[in-house]
């Protein structure tokens, strides 16, 4: 198991290198005239050239990448071109916001989706149809509509939660909870809808497995068969989906972050990518890849623990 993890980590580090290189090259495509954006429309060509030199943009891409990589290896990801903030600090400030959302949504999704999925898969009939309808509705509803309605009802009208802003967990736990509840709720609607369908499918699949029948024939109570055997086998595919959802939230919570005014990774990605702030984007890319590698590893380890056969593969 530890060899497996080490191998995966090594592959992850290699991936990090390649992605960083490709992203850097892609970012160097010079349509986003950063210097001119920084200086405004009235800047002279000389000023633009000077700015480009200041940012190192007059160097060839490979030289710039080499320098970036050299700095990155020493833990220096540079400073933002547009806000002068240190990249690591900037990401360090925002990652907890997004991680809060990701963890919250994953937790809510895992619990609710498991509950609904198992319920539908075991009971079938009307319950199943209800869960399926809920799933389709949750899936088909446009995300921002859900988010807007949630803000308007729970924050603006009822004033149960704040409409905007983020309070770090370290500052105040109830404060943190009050600021992340609505965003998590907004993001969970679609996530629960999707994952519960997955769980339902898996549960139905597993319930049809021969060994479930055999276990029953051995005299095991159905509840025990369900909770010990069916759930364990059904949760492996669900975990994979959950892992993918988790990764997706890293950059995919843009809309929710914007509407709730949360300073997270998602809105940061969009803002800084459209501007072409290379140091920040590279920092975000690195963060994303590290998260993807770690999450995939965790999911694989969990799936391996649940499903010994996958461990061997």
């Amino acid at each position: 198991m530890s060899r497996f993890a080490a191998r995966r980590l090594a592959a992850g580090i290699f991936l990090l290198f390649v992605v960083s290189f490709v992203s850097f090259v892609l970012l160097s495509i010079p349509t986003l005239d950063v210097a001119r954006q920084l200086l405004g429309q009235s800047a002279s060509q000389e000023a633009v050239d000077a700015k480009n030199a200041e940012l190192g943009l007059d160097q060839p891409v490979l030289a710039r990448y080499a320098r970036w990589l050299g700095d990155a290896l020493t833990g220096d990801l540079g400073t933002s071109w547009f806000t002068s903030e240190d990249v690591l600090t900037a990401i360090g400030h925002r990652l907890p916001v997004t991680l809060s959302l990701m963890l919250g949504v994953t937790l809510v999704t895992a619990l609710l989706a498991l509950l609904l999925g198992v319920w539908a898969g075991v009971r079938r009939g009307a319950v199943d149809r209800l869960v399926q309808v809920l799933g389709v509705v949750g899936y088909a509803l446009p995300g921002f509509l859900v988010t807007l309605v949630i803000v308007l009802v729970f924050a603006v009208q009822l004033r149960w939660f704040p409409a905007i802003g983020y309070i770090p967990l370290t500052t105040s736990v109830p404060g943190w909870l009050s600021t992340v509840t609505l965003p998590i709720l907004s993001l969970s609607v679609a996530a629960v809808a999707g994952v519960s369908q997955q769980v339902r499918g898996s549960v139905i699949d597993v319930l049809r497995q021969d060994y479930v029948r055999t276990l029953r024939a051995r005299g095991l109570p159905p509840r025990r068969v369900l909770f010990r055997h069916v759930l364990r086998n059904a949760s492996a595919p669900a975990l994979t989906v959950l892992g993918m959802q988790f990764v997706g939230l890293l950059g995919g919570a843009v809309l929710v972050e914007q509407i709730f005014g949360l300073p997270g990774i998602g809105s940061m990605t969009v803002t800084y990518t459209t501007r072409g702030d290379t140091p920040i984007i590279m920092g975000l890319v690195m963060t994303t890849v590290v998260c993807v590698v770690v999450i995939n590893l965790v999911v694989d380890l969990l799936v391996g623990w649940l499903n010994p056969k996958a461990r061997a593969a």
């Binding site: 950063v34 000077a50 933002s80 939660f161 409409a163 914007q258 300073p263 459209t274």
Partner: protein
């Protein structure tokens, strides 16, 4: 530690709201023993850095917190002493003598004096900041003594006091210039507040607290928090729930969403105008535009009223001129100079020999040219026979293609209407940024030198004549001035700042 309980938040005051946003404990520096409220400003504009050479327009309040400027510009545009107590021009208007305060020190004990002014102005001029060109005419800063300097200009520049009350006048500690990187995030000025680095998240939230022993007028807030949002929906929701004290809301729909919200006060700000900057009056890219009748036809073809009603929901005033209401050159009559008249436009085109129309290509930045603007301009121009083709461009791309490559004849922009007439002339009329093909005409050639060498008041008639000339010769196709909403909650009042899209930091007061 005080945490806001949400069901009780209805009438949340400034302090409570501040606690939530700042997530911090006690208010302000707390050293004075007094407890003044904390001001929470939400904005969509943020500074590139806190180094004063990078200061621009809407981000000025970020700098005003920690820096004083040589001159203070009041809400109505009048100049008042700040770090400089007196200023006088010589007869030729090329030497500006400043008398400086002698009792101001930077945090490290460095004295504010003539040398500091010289160092700051020269650094500003040499920097790559967006406004560095303001000081391009500055030939020498003569330090007479610690409290007197003389600015020597190559040519008269009527906007100089404006510069010194704006970005170019912000004075940082010369001792800090050695480490320019540090200055970007750690401002070192003599201003009323200090940046609270521990609470600040650059790019998201800047937290300022009262500076100990500030030499000047005590501002009525113990601290200021400026939070940056990337959309107005969040700002509007924050205003409604009392989490934000004040913000300027630009979007007409968002303004409408705030109407009738309890406890909020709205003050109009008319600063930006929207229109086509028609660079190509000489017909370099689009030959047809060289004919003034064609440019007039464009102006008559646009249905400004409907655009204002439908796109801005009436929040603004249609206009045909680029001078703003705060400027001397402004002439109310010119607002309605070009009526919507497709027939006349067609006639003018026919007279110009383009009865069959022509094609006009313009870049489209979707952040400014929304679908509604794009399609309405297209169909308005199509009605008189002009084919408008939009070329989609990204922001960075647009600047390069428009201003560097000069690929286009015109560009739809939202542009601030400067209170300083000379800035308007310099930016929009003289060859340069917004007159990139360097077009001029007889009247302009005759009037500009007169305006440049006379005091602002003396130049009023010339400015009006210049304005009329620009309008009649259809240098531009302005649509309307846009009314923004300066929104404040029940705890705060604020006055719009002449010549700025956002109020100066000095313009906020606690409501009594």
């Amino acid at each position: 530690m005080r945490i806001r309980r949400f069901p009780t938040a209805g009438s949340a005051g400034v302090v409570v709201a501040a606690l939530v946003l700042a997530g911090c404990t006690g208010a302000g520096g707390g050293t004075t023993g007094q407890s003044d409220p904390i001001l929470d400003i939400a904005t969509m504009t943020f500074p590139q850095s806190l180094d004063p050479v990078t200061a621009v327009g809407g981000a000025l309040p970020f700098f005003q917190a920690t820096y004083d400027s040589l001159l203070k510009r009041e809400a109505d545009g009048a100049y008042r002493p700040m770090l400089a107590t007196e200023w006088t021009w010589d007869a030729g208007r090329t030497k500006l003598s400043l008398t400086l305060r002698g009792d101001v020190e930077f945090d490290d004990g460095t004295q504010f004096d003539g040398t500091a002014v010289k160092a700051n102005l020269e650094r500003f001029k040499a920097s790559s900041g967006a406004n560095a060109k303001w000081l391009s005419g500055l030939e020498q800063v003569e330090v007479v003594d610690a409290t007197h300097v003389v600015l020597h200009l190559g040519a008269p520049d009527p906007a100089y006091l404006y510069y010194l009350s704006d970005a170019a006048g912000l004075i940082a500690n010369p001792a800090a210039f050695a480490d320019a990187e540090k200055l970007k995030t750690a401002p070192d000025g003599t201003g009323p507040y200090e940046l609270d680095a521990s609470q600040t998240t650059v790019g998201t939230k800047w937290v300022y607290r009262r500076a100990d022993g500030y030499w000047g007028e005590r501002l009525p807030f113990d601290g200021v928090t400026m939070t940056v949002f990337d959309n107005e929906t969040a700002i509007v929701n924050g205003l409604k729930t009392g989490q934000i004290d004040t913000a300027v809301v630009q979007d007409a729909n968002q303004q409408a969403a705030l109407e009738g919200a309890p406890g909020l006060t709205t003050t109009p700000i008319d600063f930006d105008f929207q229109g086509i900057l028609l660079f190509d009056r000489a017909g370099v890219v689009t030959a047809e535009l060289a004919d003034v009748k064609v440019r007039q036809a464009l102006n008559h073809a646009i249905d400004r009223k409907t655009m204002l009603e439908q796109i801005r929901r009436g929040k603004g005033v249609v206009t045909s001129q680029i001078f703003g209401t705060d400027s001397l050159g402004y002439d109310e009559a010119l607002d309605s100079h070009y009526a919507h008249d497709p027939e006349k436009a067609k006639r003018l085109l026919a007279e110009a020999g383009h009865a069959d129309g022509f094609e006009l290509k313009m870049p489209r930045m979707t952040s400014i040219v929304t679908e509604a603007i794009a399609s309405s301009l297209k169909s308005d121009l199509a009605d008189v026979g002009i084919t408008l083709t939009w070329v989609d461009v990204d922001q960075g791309d647009a600047l390069r293609r428009v201003f560097q490559n000069r690929e286009f004849s015109g560009f739809v922009m939202n542009l601030g209407q400067q209170a300083s007439d000379w800035l308007v002339v310099k930016d929009l009329v003289l060859p340069g940024t917004f007159n990139l093909f360097g077009y001029t005409d007889e009247t302009v050639r005759a009037l500009v030198p007169k305006i440049q060498t006379s005091s602002t008041e003396e130049a009023r008639d010339d400015l009006r004549a210049l304005n009329r000339n620009l309008v009649e010769n259809a240098w531009f196709v302005p649509f309307y001035r846009m009314t923004y909403a300066l929104v404040t909650d029940s705890g705060v009042t604020a006055a719009p700042q002449s010549g700025m899209a956002v109020p100066s930091l000095y313009n906020y007061r606690p409501a009594v």
